[in-house]
């Protein structure tokens, strides 16, 4: 499934990123030529040599351990006890756990709200900072700084800002906009939105860097041409920059969906590790961490939740691919 989507993105990326250079007709022609020559030129072995290092690391440190997690999810194992086979008991128990419902809701909301912001805002930001000169270079470096700060510091800073007696509430009060402090950190929904704000705050710089490297690949003659056509900066952004970054936008959508569904740090640090008032802001990763780490960990149960998260993310990615492909066909 991922394979077919890959070739779809590939077709888009070529049609999207290099419209001036390669007509789709020519591409097709080249592909046919490729097909006839490919095997003698690549050899059967070469591609595998290319992917071998990555494959070894991935299989040894992720795939095999995760198969282990899968096996554990059918046992009642704990951190210090191997446990015995219990069939689907952990899965049945999981679906009866009220915390799972909360975690699923919070993680899903996170994806819905954060992903569009992560795809769009960093692109605008990267367009703003792209260009020559030391001033812009200074801004580029500055905007990346939130990414390199440790999450503990980020949490410290934002709790100080959003606390009921924190800076934001003090300012609002001084402006006479509010009489009662806004409970950013204690209200079930406001806390979730505050955490999203922190995610976007750190994510801006991260995805900006990815976009910048993509912008560097856009043919400058396209900008020149659009300028001659009398396009202003906004139209230029919409008609040259955005189409030129299409495949990167798609990639960032996938990456940020995965990251958003797995959100952990932001909520953890804003609440001092408690998952919000009454644990109502627990997310999937927080639930997994709570059940699956520490001396008392219920590794079997945590394994079942991990499997659920894995399946949901897989489904999400397939859906995003289908939507993307449809959008491409209509475009």
């Amino acid at each position: 499934m991922v394979a077919s989507s890959t070739s779809a993105t590939r077709a888009t990326s070529r049609a999207g990123e290099k419209p001036a250079r390669v007509s789709s007709k020519k591409t097709k022609h080249l592909n046919e030529v490729d097909k006839s020559r490919r095997i003698p030129e690549n050899g059967v072995l070469a591609p595998w040599l290319f992917v071998l290092p990555a494959l070894i690391v991935i299989v040894v440190f992720f795939i095999i351990p995760f198969i282990n997690t899968l096996k554990l999810s059918f046992t009642d194992a704990t951190m210090l006890k191997p446990g015995s086979f219990v069939g689907f008991d952990q899965y049945i128990k999981m679906f009866g756990d009220p915390r799972l419902k909360t975690a699923l809701l919070n993680s899903s909301l996170y994806v819905v709200c954060v992903v569009p912001c992560m795809v769009i805002f960093p692109l605008i930001l990267s367009a703003l900072v792209s260009g020559n000169g030391r001033v812009l270079a200074f801004f580029r470096v500055s905007f990346y700084m939130p990414v390199v700060m440790s999450s503990v510091i980020v949490g410290l800073i934002w709790t100080n800002l959003l606390d009921s007696r924190g800076l934001v509430n003090s300012i609002f009060k001084a402006m006479k906009w509010i009489t009662e402090p806004i409970p950013f950190l204690t209200d079930r929904w406001l806390l979730l939105f505050s955490a999203m704000l922190v995610t976007i705050w750190t994510g801006l710089g991260y995805y900006m860097v990815i976009y910048l490297s993509a912008l560097a690949n856009i043919d400058p003659s396209l900008y020149e041409a659009s300028e001659l056509d009398g396009c202003g900066p906004i139209r230029q952004f919409l008609h040259v920059t955005v189409p030129g970054c299409r495949s990167t936008m798609m990639l960032i959508m996938l990456l940020s969906s995965i990251a958003a569904f797995r959100v952990f740090n932001e909520i953890y640090v804003l609440t001092g590790g408690t998952g919000g008032t009454g644990g109502e802001d627990l997310t999937m990763s927080m639930l997994i961490k709570r059940e699956g780490t520490g001396l008392q960990a219920r590794t079997g149960y945590a394994g079942a939740i991990s499997m659920l998260m894995f399946v949901i993310l897989g489904t999400l990615i397939v859906i995003e691919n289908i939507v993307q492909r449809k959008a491409d066909r209509n475009a």
Partner: protein
């Protein structure tokens, strides 16, 4: 008319940039200021104030003296460099194959890479530790770098970058009789230097800031990385927030330098006026 519109756009651009600067960097400056506040500063005053009244560098000296920061920094640098090399080389190789070569099992490999990004680290970290122990690598810096040596996300980034390289470039080389390795090294890699730099920066920062994995796999002072060792600034019975702030500022310096040095590479394309070809 054109010129005026350009000027207005420039002004709006800079207003937006300064606005973003305040939002994104303001909190950092606060942290920096906390690190230079002396005992005469009430760091809990309401409302809080930014600039120190009792300016001092003593917190930095104290942090430097309290822990073997040089050893930690050296260890962090080694881990980060291993990670950068592994990620840049490994994901460039894999990315090229996944983007440009056709082979049986390519879909399967792509699926595996994607699957890895969806695995919750919490559930596999103990298994990873057991693997490292099986290799007799516990308490080595290599072990601290190993699981993140070639990260799936970087493979995806490189794949995406290679897809953007115009096909006719490679086609021309093919006609000239270049084999797949020559085409990879001489034609395609120069086109994706920008993204490779991004990968380098991401893996450097990731390795530098990683805490839980090095904590588990490293056992004593001689191998601790900076993030693990910095924890020593946190007292068992009492911690001084200024000292911790000073420590975090110190730990940031190498990352900032690394970024400053390398950011121009991923930006080079634009400044040189486009893709070479």
């Amino acid at each position: 008319m054109h010129n005026q519109r350009g000027k207005a756009a420039r002004i709006i651009q800079y207003v937006l940039l300064v606005f973003m600067f305040v939002i994104l960097i303001g909190p950092m400056i606060w942290q920096l200021m906390l690190a230079v506040k002396g005992p005469g500063d009430n760091i809990y005053s309401v409302p809080p104030y930014l600039f120190p009244k009792d300016f001092t560098f003593a917190n930095f000296t104290k942090a430097l003296n309290a822990i073997p920061i040089l050893t930690y920094t050296r260890n962090s640098a080694i881990v980060a460099i291993i990670s950068v090399c592994g990620n840049v080389i490994g994901s460039t190789l894999a990315g090229y194959a996944l983007a440009r070569l056709k082979f049986k099992g390519k879909g399967f490999v792509t699926a595996l890479v994607f699957a890895c990004m969806m695995i919750p680290v919490e559930t596999v970290i103990i298994s990873q530790f057991l693997v490292i122990r099986g290799m007799h690598l516990q308490n080595t810096l290599l072990a601290a770098a190993l699981p993140g040596l070639i990260q799936p996300i970087n493979v995806m980034l490189m794949t995406n970058a290679f897809r953007g390289v115009p096909y006719e470039l490679e086609e021309a080389a093919k006609v000239d009789g270049a084999n797949v390795w020559q085409r990879f090294l001489q034609i395609c890699v120069p086109q994706v230097i920008g993204t490779a730099t991004v990968v380098a920066i991401f893996s450097f920062v990731g390795a530098w800031n990683d805490f839980l994995w090095p904590l588990i796999v490293l056992a004593d002072d001689s191998t601790f990385t900076l993030t693990v060792g910095m924890n020593r600034l946190r007292g068992t019975f009492f911690s001084d927030p200024r000292l911790i702030a000073a420590g975090t500022v110190l730990a940031l310096i190498p990352i900032i330098i690394f970024f400053l040095v390398f950011q121009r590479y991923f930006f080079r394309g634009v400044e040189q006026g486009g893709v070479k070809g």
